[in-house]
Symmetry: C2
Amino acid sequence: MTPSKWSRISRETLLENPYYRIVHDRYVQPDGEVGDYQYIDIQGSAMVIPVLESGEMILVRQFRYLMQRECLEFPAGGIREGSAPIDTAKEELMEEAGFAARRWEEIGQFAPYSGASNEMCHVFLARDLEFVAPAPEGTEEMDVLQLPEARIEEKVVLGEIWDGMSIAAYHLFRVWRNTTNG
Amino acid sequence: MTPSKWSRISRETLLENPYYRIVHDRYVQPDGEVGDYQYIDIQGSAMVIPVLESGEMILVRQFRYLMQRECLEFPAGGIREGSAPIDTAKEELMEEAGFAARRWEEIGQFAPYSGASNEMCHVFLARDLEFVAPAPEGTEEMDVLQLPEARIEEKVVLGEIWDGMSIAAYHLFRVWRNTTNG
């Protein structure tokens, strides 16, 4: 039997750290030739759009080492092995922003970096929020902000919100709301 | 002199392929300790939002090996060494969709994967489009589509457009237009 196009022939792990593996796949190209692919193999992630009664949203400001500057982002994190996306969403909302929520809804998914990572990000809307605890110690670089949508969009235009995942998640929320009137 | 927080102490290249390097940085954490960071070191990318006279946008359908399914995306690609973002934008619009454009404008930037890659994606609006040539050979998996915005948003909701970079770029276009009435 000829292997079908795009199917994997072999996989090897090139390196591993606590967050992901770099793997090297050999696969069948559409033209039948063998292709090589090196990419991030990772569990997936969850991002939370926390919406207050007022309509304001909760974002966290953090310093991104790779860009050497601060960004405003929605709370998010990688899904741990054996954990469900919703559990990660709840943990990140609490750990990064200090909030719990009584209403949760998964409103969409997207692949943030589909050329070089197999990560799928699950986007959750969190409502009926309750402030539980200040963000834990050690996160001195993380501030929690509450912003109305108009200010969020302004900050996207100004380039103060430059995290692609937060922008994509926000857009998913917008189209989800238009569709559901939720 | 004490090194300032977030500053790099050392860098080593862990592996290299034609598209990017995996590097390992040691850096100064906010608490003064030495942190380790392994990430994708890459040149940056350009994504094009091609808008026709009718308001329809041009997207390409391609199979994404890492997700083992098709996605609709805006034309995009990595910036080659020594190349400017706008040149990459022009090349990708031609190579992936077969179009040239007479009006170009950079409408924003975002970092698609700021936790594990230093890539910054430059988003260009391309107008006054002209169909020049069918997509070149070897890209048999790539179809070119023209869609109105309503259909694009529908496909985001339906999960047919699941590429985070395309969703973020589309959102940048929307807020850019709202701001400029462009």
